[in-house]
Every structure is written in C-alpha cells, then in structure tokens.
Amino acid sequence: MIKSILEKFSLEKNSSVMLVFAAVVLSAPIWLTPFGANYPDLLQKFAIFGIFAIGFNILFGLTGYLSFGHAVFLGVGSYTAVWVFKLFTMNVLPAVMLSVAIAAVFALLIGYISLRRSGIYFSILTLALAQMSYNLAYSVLTPITSGETGLQLSSEDPRYIDSLLGAGVQEGLPATNFFGMSMSGYSGFYFCAIFLILAFYISLKIFRSPYGLKLIAIKSNQKRMLYTGFNTRPYLLSAFVISGMFAGLAGGLMAATDPLAGAERMQWTASGEVVLMTILGGSGTLIGPLLGVGVIKYFENIFSALNETSLREIFNFLPDVVADFLVSITHVFVGEGWHLTLGILFMLVVIFLPGGIMQGVGIFTRYYKKKMTELKSERSVEKGKSQ
C-alpha cells in the first residue's frame, strides 16, 4: 500500500509534485467556492489541520505507531503562542517558532516514556499522558491555561517587546500580525498555506529519504530492523518528535489566526480526530491525510450548518411534494445529525476502502488507465483491421 503510492509518486519529479501541490493549495479559495467552503476561517482550518495530519502521518503512516495523545502538542503549541502574544509581541513569527520548540520538548518527554512500549500499550501510554495533561490544564493549571474559558488576550498584557518598540497603547485588543500583515481573513490563510506547503515538502522529503525508508521498515518488521543493525528507538523517537513539532506548529498557527487556546484542544477526542482524519484519508500516503482533514472539517463546518430552511432552498427547484420528501429525509443527516453522517461515512469508507479515500482514488485511476489502454488497443486493433 505505502509502497505503491510511493512509487506512483516517484515516477513524477519532486518539483512538479510540489508545483501542483502549491498551486492547488494556494488556489483553494477559488476552487472551493462552489462547495461553500471558501471563507477564511475554514480555509485556515484546512491548512492548519492539514499540517497536524501530515505530521501525525509521519509517525503513524511510516512507523505504524498509533499515538492517541497527539492533541497535547497542538494544545501546547497554542498555549505557547498565546503566551508569547501576551508577554512579548503580537508578531506571529516568534510565537510560531516558540510553539514548535516547546512542542518538541513535550514530544521528546512523552515520546521517551511512551516509546518504551509498542502496539496498543504505546497507544494507551500516549493516551494516558495526554489525558493527564488535559485534566490538569482544565483544572489545577488554570493560572497558566485559563481552564475551561481558554487563554485569551487581555488589554492588560505587558507585551514587553511591542511596548519597547513603542507600539502605542490602543483601545481594545491588538491583532496578531506578520510584520504588519493581518492574520485574520485571507492573508491569514495564505500565511498558513505557506506553512502547509513547507510541511508537505518536508513530509515528501522524509518519505523519500533513507530515513523514511527505515521508518517504513520498522513498521514492516521491527525485529528484523534490530538484527539488521539499527537501534530503532532513536528512529521512533525522532519521528515522534518531528510529528509532535508539526502538531506544535499547527497549534501555534491556530493561535496566530485566532488568539485563543483552550484545554479541550488536548482532549482525547481531539487526538482521536486526527487519527480518524489520517485513516479516513489513507495513512501512509502523502495526500491521504489531507483528504481526511478536508472531509471531516467540511462536515463539521458546513454539514452542521444546514437546516430545514437551507435544505428547502437547495431543493426548491423540485416540485413541492418531492422537495418536502427529500427535505424530511435529508434533514436527519445534516444540522444536528452531522455526527450520524460522519459515523456512517467512517463505516462505509473503512468497509469498502480499507486503505482510506486514497485507495478509492487508486482504484479509480487504475480503472481509468485500464479503460484508456483498452480504448487505445481497441483503436489500434480496429486500425489493424481496416488496413
């Protein structure tokens, strides 16, 4: 599975892959318009969770180690970024950089402990450590995290660097910026998109490096790796830290585009979400996790917002009786029923496409290619006949 995708991609040049990827990402505001998903917040979420999932995939997709506590690094990244905004400057660059660094420290710590075990024991260790962090952040660590309310900016924050640089005291809260560029709206999306492209590039490089091959080999047969002369622990730990840093970056960007950090970002359900995204899209593939992100975030934001009124608008070209019937059926699956639809989707995808959406894509392209070659051969046969 992994290999076939790898080879499929290696047939093309890295640079052309990157070119296509960058073009697709940066033009997302245009081609997502017909889906109603072209507004800045959702675009930012696509990019940010894309980074999160790409990072998670480096650990899970390559080494097969299923972490159930990756959201901790997302949360840590967010808290770090908001604290940098509060204490130092509203410029997002130091915040994002520090988010990655602090997340790396946490990942090193949690990874060092959890990687002493493998299989489900590893998963439970990460889960337990993450839940501990979440529970503490929600309650006793409130002075640092603001607990349930979430850490927010306040007009009383010192912001030492900004005040040193003489940013005048303004009424209301300052906004995050990248050397003056606003982090909300489309510019915020492009800022995140650049990081997404960078993250994808790093992931691509890792997938195609000797290091990446060794990680895949660990997933394939860890025992053999030991006897082949590799100490697998540092490989796993480095992959864990890298993916933790990606999550930290995503957390930092979340805070950069929307300066709030809440404890629920670290809850097990948040960790579970990235697992589901990755598997749904196709773990171990380069693009799969991004597709998973797209589907789940789209459901969460667009499907949940549909209600009977909006459904009626969609179906109003039909005769009333048919429209009523369709509305009465579909409204079960949208709005408050979006969870139901998501659950059904999970089941359908995994039953029929064990490799996730990417497997579906693979089947489709293979079918398409086969058809094309059949068509060609038919034509040549016909040509042969006519001659």
Binding site: S15, N38, E148, T149, E300, E336
Partner: protein, 446 residues
C-alpha cells in the same frame, strides 16, 4: 524507488519558484475582501442575517434545540408572522412587525458542540461566509466567553444565550457582548434571604464544585452569601467535569459534620451528583440536630428532568420559568406552546428575549451599525419580557432584573410542572457594583 535516473531532487530555488507561481494563481480572491464598509457585514438587499450558534451535539443538545426553537419564533415575530408573542407586551418597543428598518430577518444556524474552538469556528463561518450581523445562543460560559471575545474582534454583536458565570459580564466582559441571563453573583444574593428563612443562620455547608471557571465563580458567590448569613463552610471540593460517578466525593460528606450540601454543578454533572447524593441517604440524615439539606443554586428545568424525583423539595434559582403569570411570560408561553406543543425552557426564553432586544435596538438606533446599536442597548430599560422591570446596565452589559428562587415541585400537576416558585426576588436585592469583577469593555469601533 531507488531508480535514480527517473527523477531529480527539488532544489530550494525550484521550490520557491513553484510557490510563487502558485501564489499568483491563488491571489485573486484577495480582491473579494471588502474593506469599504463602515462596519462588518452591513446588510445588502432586503434582509439582514442573524447567526444562531447553539449546541446541537453533546450533552446540551436538547437545550440547544430548545434555544433554536425560540430563535425561529423570535425571527417570525420580528418579521410580523405568527401571533407576535412578546412583541405585544414589551415596553417600550419600536419594532412594528415588519422586520427591522424595513429589512426582513433571516438566520443561519451552527453547532457549538459546547467546545470553545468549535463554537468560534461556527461563529466565524457565520460572520465570514453567511454575513451574520449578530451572533446569539450557547449553553455554557466557556463558549460564551470565547465567542464574545471573537465577536469583539470581528465587530459583530454577541447576544449571549445561557451563561451564568460572573466572568461573562465581569472580568471577560466585552463592548460587543450582552447578557440577559442572570449570573452566579445574583444567584447568591437571591438565595440568601430564602436560605435564612428556611434553614436558619446556623448551618455548616459542604460544596461540591465543578472544576472550571463557572463552578468557581458560583462557589465563591454562594459562599460569600452563606457566610454572610452566619453559616460555616466545612469544605469546598472540586470535582472533575463529566466525572459520571461522584460517589468518591460524596462519601466524605457523611463524616464531615456538614448539614448542607451545595452542588455547584450544571447539566449532566448536576443530574448525576444529585441522584447519587440522594441515594447515599443524605436527605434522610439528621446532622447537628438539623435535617440535612441539598441546594442546587442553578436550576434548569430541562436538565432537571433527568434527576426525576430526587429533585423534589430542593432549592435553587432560575432565570425564568414558564409558569410565571405576568403578561409577557404568558404571551411567550402561548406562542411557543402553540408552535411546538410544549412549554419553553429558560434557555429558550433568554434567547428569544435577546433576539427581540437586539432587533429593537437596531430599530431604535436607525442603523445596523453595531457601534450605534450598542449605544442604544446600553442602559436600555424595558418591561414586559417576563422578568419585571429590567435594565441593560451600561457599565458591564449585564441585565439587572428579578431572580426566581424555585424548589423542586413535590406534587406536580402535569409532566412539565417540575419547579415551584418560592419567591421572585426583586431586582433591588440582587444588584451589585459592576466594578467588583474588574475587566474592560473595550472600544465601540473596531
């Protein structure tokens, strides 16, 4: 994959080139951004959009569904459909039942999931995609504070739904945020005299408190009140949110010498802790020669159904109850009941009132410009909305009004008759100095 001849590596420069080229393609939508408007989402055409952000999944989904029903009803009434509900009883009112400023109200909905992140994402969608002028709804203080902060940044008015923490209009208050619902401080002030009357001045209280900001503010407010009465506080124990089984926190109460248990829990936690406390026989106990009592400071009829008979005789406060007999409440219950076949909850009531108040303020201001609408809401005094004479205090955007002290009904006459009104504590008794909680409202213009 090691077949080296088939590909070359991507140089750093090539990568940059690729990105720049793609950026050029993607830059186009930037121009759609509209900077010319004087304020966010100024309505175009014959409609204006309201965003109703309620929990549709998770523990508060039923409460959210009830809020949504109220919102839909409010929009109908504003647009002059239906029987008009509180439009007929609200005083003063400038709404004419033809929409607002000649524009019809339309709405979009979203799911907060009772999570700050999801609620903010949903509110952002409403603002950025659907062009919502006002956001309302919600069923927890964490969400309310998170969304309120966002609305301040975006320049969109937030009319809070069910949120009871002091922080919403205290340390986290915002110029663009308004709360009609009462708060923990007011609960404490309202309960005080009733507790004194019913339980005397010589009691020992034991608090079980949900371990998050709302729980803490309520514990603080109740403690202040009861200690003011002369009660002692034996212990304040923090319990994790969603603990499910509270038995390990209840057992120590038996030996503590306390004679009153105060449950600073809401929703599912309240249902579970109350059910389990009663099972442990707390209410049958005699301590210090007094009958042991349980108090649930914040009641919700909807959630309380889950506690069943355990609720009977237990004191608490509520923002509003459908059994109130004033004209405003009757009008609202009548149109809600006719529409949906059952009475509205307090969450539905507050959301309905908030929507009407917002619409009325726009009409009064003569514009949808939030900086003007805020000014007309600040200090606005009104009546006929079910809570007696009410004022939106300008200093902290908290509605000051009467508070209901209620008790679980011992002998309900029907399936909705769960709460019995003990006392309508007048506004004068629950008022407080807005300065005590600190916080800053921020600017009118963002």
């Amino acid at each position: 994959m090691t077949d080296k001849n088939e590909f070359d590596t991507l140089s750093r420069r090539g990568f940059l080139k690729a990105s720049v080229a793609a950026a050029a393609v993607g830059a186009a939508p930037m121009f759609f951004m509209n900077n010319a408007n004087a304020y966010t989402n100024a309505p175009k055409g014959g409609t204006f959009t309201l965003g109703f952000n309620v929990p549709q999944t998770g523990a508060y989904a039923d409460e959210g569904a009830d809020e949504l029903r109220a919102f839909k009803l409010a929009v109908k009434h504003i647009n002059g459909e239906g029987d008009g509900g509180m439009m007929n009883t609200m005083k003063p009112i400038v709404l004419k039942g033809n929409g607002v400023l000649g524009k019809k109200a339309v709405f979009v909905t979203g799911d907060t999931q009772t999570k700050s992140d999801a609620a903010r994402a949903s509110a952002k969608r409403m603002i950025e995609k659907d062009g919502a002028l006002m956001i309302s709804g919600g069923s927890s203080s964490g969400v309310a504070i998170a969304v309120q902060g966002l609305c301040q940044e975006a320049g969109v008015i937030f009319m809070a739904g069910l949120t009871h923490s002091n922080d919403t209009t205290g340390k986290d208050k915002r110029r663009y945020g308004f709360r009609h619902f009462f708060n923990a401080k007011m609960t404490g002030s309202a309960l005080g005299p009733v507790l004194k009357e019913e339980m005397g001045t010589d009691r020992v209280a034991y608090h079980l408190t949900s371990d998050y900001t709302w729980g803490w503010t309520q514990e603080e407010s109740i403690k202040e009140t009861t200690e003011g009465l002369g009660w002692k506080t034996k212990a304040t124990v923090r319990t994790p949110v969603g603990a499910g089984d509270f038995s390990q926190y209840i057992t120590p109460i038996l030996n503590s010498g306390a004679d009153t248990l105060i449950l600073n829990h809401y929703g599912k936690d309240m249902v579970n802790s109350l059910t389990q406390s009663v099972q442990f026989g707390l209410r049958d106990k005699m301590v210090n020669g007094k009958q042991f009592e349980i108090i649930v400071p914040l009641y919700s009829r909807l959630m309380a159904q889950g506690a069943g008979d355990n609720l009977k005789g237990i004191l608490g406060t509520t923002n509003w109850n459908w059994a109130l007999k004033d004209a405003g409440s009757k009008a609202f219950v009548k149109s809600f009941g006719a529409e949906y076949g059952f009475p509205p909850s307090q969450a539905a009531h507050t959301c309905y009132v908030q929507t009407l108040l917002y619409a009325n303020a726009c009409e009064m201001a003569g514009t949808f410009d939030p900086s003007q609408v805020i000014r007309s809401l600040e200090g606005f005094k009104f009546d006929g909305m079910g809570n007696g004479e009410t004022e939106y205090r300008a200093e902290d955007h908290q509605c000051l009004k009467d508070v209901l002290v209620v008790r679980g009904n011992q002998n309900p006459s029907n399936q909705f008759d769960l709460l019995e009104i003990v006392k309508e504590v007048p506004r004068s008794q629950v008022e407080y100095d807005p300065a005590i909680f600190g916080g800053k409202l921020g600017p009118y213009k963002v």
